[in-house]
């Protein structure tokens, strides 16, 4: 039976409602290999690009801490950038650039897109920590907990301002428009959380906006800047980024139920649920557990509601269903990647997609 995804409007084949026994397969993804063993060349390229992301991070620090910036602002930038992130987003942009360039490394403008992507992500983290009241980020004090709410908000604004300047420097209106759309989607995703309804399709739409949109648009921008780019290549890169982003966030949400504070570098142990944010594992469990739906409706306000929620998620295998959905998106990502030029970087990207799916933190 063909259905239309409520989150991304793609058609797919469903044999049952989204439950533990889901057997959905994305159209076109049936033959995609999702277990490509990494070759030595692709491993070498991956290592080189990971080293290059460190260079991009240093460039980002230089852009964000000019001599003209107030001392306190520079101090905040250094504090946030000193805590190393995974730099997954710039790495993905570099890989997509390699693929879309049909081999040659990323040009300067593509590297700029990679830097801007990480900058936008960093700005969103600073504001998210303020909105969520998180005191920890990447194993260190969050910007808002160390410097205060007001300065944290302004720090995020500074990052967006610098990112916009860099985007304008590419001189490509489509790139500027794409990343501006990503910023808009990011904010809309955060706003969507205010009207939490416990609806699975809305959760997927929010996941797209909060995480996948940035990767989708940055991958598309990398494709647009490639020599000889075509609309088909740009569209495939967009879908590739979107699928990777969806899988990445779904895995992030299920790890929230499984991992500890140390592994994640941020508060865990169903932290999302404790804050009243409903993610994949809980939403899947709500489909089969009326008691959980009632507890969520009263915002887990009664004693024992939180434990009820955790037990319901375990009984319904909400984590397993979320992981299965993440696997679907990974298969889609592999298939979209197969539509792009087959170069050594493609193998590295296939390998990275699998690592993102199977990561433990």
């Amino acid at each position: 039976m063909l259905r239309v995804c409520a989150a991304c409007a793609r058609r797919f084949c469903f044999s049952a409602p989204v439950r533990a026994r889901v057997s959905a397969t994305a159209i076109g993804a049936q033959d995609a290999s999702s277990s490509t063993p990494p070759t030595p060349e692709s491993e070498r390229l991956l290592s080189e690009l990971q080293a290059e992301t460190a260079t991009l991070a240093a460039d980002m620090r230089t852009h964000l801490t000019p001599d003209s910036a107030p001392d306190k602002l520079s101090l905040m930038m250094r504090h946030h950038l000193d805590a190393p992130g995974k730099l997954v987003r710039p790495l993905l942009v570099l890989l997509v650039s390699h693929v879309c360039n049909a081999g040659p490394p990323a040009c300067q403008r593509q590297r700029t897109v990679a830097i801007v992507t990480e900058m936008i992500h960093s700005a969103s983290l600073i504001h998210d920590d303020l909105i969520d009241g998180s005191d920890l980020r990447r194993g260190a004090a969050s910007v808002q907990s160390r410097f205060g709410h007001r300065d944290a908000v302004l720090a995020g604004d500074h990052m967006i301002g610098v990112a916009s300047q860099l985007l304008a420097g590419t001189g490509h209106p489509l790139v500027v428009r794409g990343m501006a759309t990503a910023i808009s989607d990011l904010v809309r995703g955060e706003l969507d959380q205010l009207g939490e309804t416990g609806d699975l399709s809305r959760y997927l739409a929010r996941t797209y906006r909060k995480t996948a949109a940035l990767l989708a648009h940055s991958a598309k921008c990398a494709a647009v800047l490639a020599p000889g780019s075509s609309p088909a290549t740009a569209a495939a890169a967009f879908e590739l980024g979107r699928s990777i982003g969806m899988a990445f966030q779904l895995v992030d949400d299920l790890l929230d139920f499984e991992a500890s504070d140390v592994q994640l570098g941020k508060p865990a142990g169903a932290a999302d649920l404790r804050r009243g944010v409903l993610t994949g594992p809980v939403l899947f469990a709500m489909q089969t557990c009326p008691q959980l739906r009632a507890a969520v409706a009263r915002r887990l306000s009664r004693p024992g509601d939180l434990q009820l929620a955790l037990d319901s998620v375990a009984r319904a295998d909400g984590v397993g269903q979320t992981r299965m959905l993440a696997q679907l998106h990974c298969r889609e990502a592999h298939w979209q990647l197969s539509q792009l030029p087959a170069v050594p970087a493609s193998e590295a990207l296939h390998s990275l997609i699998d690592r993102l799916l199977n990561r433990q933190h």
């Binding site: 910036a69 107030p70 908000v153 604004d157 916009s164 590419t170 500027v176 904010v187």
Partner: protein, 379 residues
């Protein structure tokens, strides 16, 4: 009417310095005495309304109204939930368009019409100045363009003015974040962050849709300048009463730096952006944003002087949101210093306006606005 024809009636009345005016224009600009005794805000607002009427520009579309749209129902409901708390966002909401569209809701809109008029004058002034300067240069920059192209250009310049207003409002909302000493304030801070982010994102998208990367660069630079200004001693001095003791007051140069970063930068870059929109893809020096041309410098000087006048006006007329913080300029300068400051900057504005292409009503209204700001705050 020409000066010659008018001069047969009363020659000494129609000449001001080296400029000649027709009687209607002279009558409206002849003396500051006509402005004395009138309500300050109503005079400036009357001039702004008249200017907008002459510009025939589309009505301003404050992005802030979208905050209350059904699409963002969660944010609107959460903002209404702040009613009764002590968060500065609630006070700002009473003085801004943020809640004027909502109407009476939890007491948020009490007495909002007068105070919202004061707060919106600043944005209205900036919009009017940007459009008037752009229109003054229009004939020079758009030689040979047909009417359809001119209408499209004017619409895009209005969009740019709306974007600049959105940027300023967003960063003003962000500056209302306070130390979260209780859960209400923490919630208010989160909503202030979200609301400001939404406006900034809308502005970014609007800028991108103009399809002119140099314009994006200029407005982005203004964002960074405003943020830098918010970290200044002036911004921190206005934060709490304790900072306003005499030994911690900043000096005049710090106040001028603050005004330059938080007001003048956005104004000058908005004007330069409007002029960039007026250029086609042919070679014109406004495309080169990296180096300042003589025209850019005159715009920078005008913007800095105008921002000083406007900021002093805003401090004097705006209701204080924090006790003791009203009119910081009066606390750090003597009346004589303030008058000198205002007069010198007004003269700078007027001489810069005189150096621009003479365009009848555009430069006339610009002079009117400058004189209105000057007269209404002489001490």
């Amino acid at each position: 009417m020409t000066a010659t024809k008018s001069s047969s009636i009363a020659p000494f009345l129609f000449v001001r310095l080296k400029h000649y005016y027709c009687p209607p224009c002279w009558l409206t600009s002849r003396s500051s005495s006509t402005l004395v005794g009138q309500s300050p805000s109503s005079t400036l607002r009357a001039i702004l309304s008249e200017a907008e009427c002459r510009l025939q520009s589309p009505p301003a579309h404050p992005f802030v109204r979208n905050l209350l749209s059904q699409d963002l129902g969660g944010l609107a409901a959460s903002l209404r939930g702040l009613a009764g708390t002590k968060h500065p966002l609630v006070e700002d909401a009473k003085r801004s368009l943020l809640f004027s569209a909502v109407g009476g809701s939890g007491g948020l809109s009490s007495d909002s019409s007068a105070s919202s008029a004061l707060a919106s004058t600043v944005g209205q002034t900036r919009r009017a100045v940007v459009l008037l300067v752009a229109r003054a240069h229009e004939e020079l920059l758009t030689k040979g363009s047909d009417l359809h192209d001119l209408e499209l250009l004017r619409r895009r310049q209005c969009q740019l003015a709306d974007i600049a207003d959105s940027v300023y409002t967003a960063l003003s909302i962000h500056s209302r974040v306070v130390p979260p000493t209780n859960s209400d304030l923490a919630k208010g801070n989160a909503l202030a962050a979200l609301a400001g982010d939404y406006l900034l994102a809308s502005a970014s998208l609007g800028l991108a849709e103009l399809d002119r990367p140099p314009v994006v660069k200029l407005i982005s630079e203004a964002i960074c300048d405003i943020v830098a200004g918010r970290f200044s001693l002036i911004a921190n001095a206005a934060g709490t009463e304790n900072s306003l003791s005499s030994n911690k007051l900043p000096d005049l140069s710090a106040w001028l730096d603050y005004v330059r970063l938080t007001s003048a930068s956005l104004l000058s870059k908005s004007i330069r952006s409007a002029l960039i929109l007026a250029t086609d893809n042919a070679n014109y020096n406004y495309q080169q944003c990296a180096t300042s041309s003589a025209e850019d410098q005159s715009i920078e000087q005008f913007s800095e002087s105008f921002a000083i006048l406007q900021h002093a006006y805003k401090e004097k007329v705006e209701h204080p949101s924090i006790a003791g913080a009203s009119c910081l300029l009066k606390r750090i300068s003597t009346p004589a210093e303030i008058n000198d400051l205002l007069n010198s900057n007004a003269d700078q504005c007027l001489s810069t306006i005189d150096s621009w292409p003479a365009s009848g009503y555009c430069t006339h209204y610009l002079r009117q606005i400058v004189r209105a700001l000057l007269v209404e705050q002489r001490v």
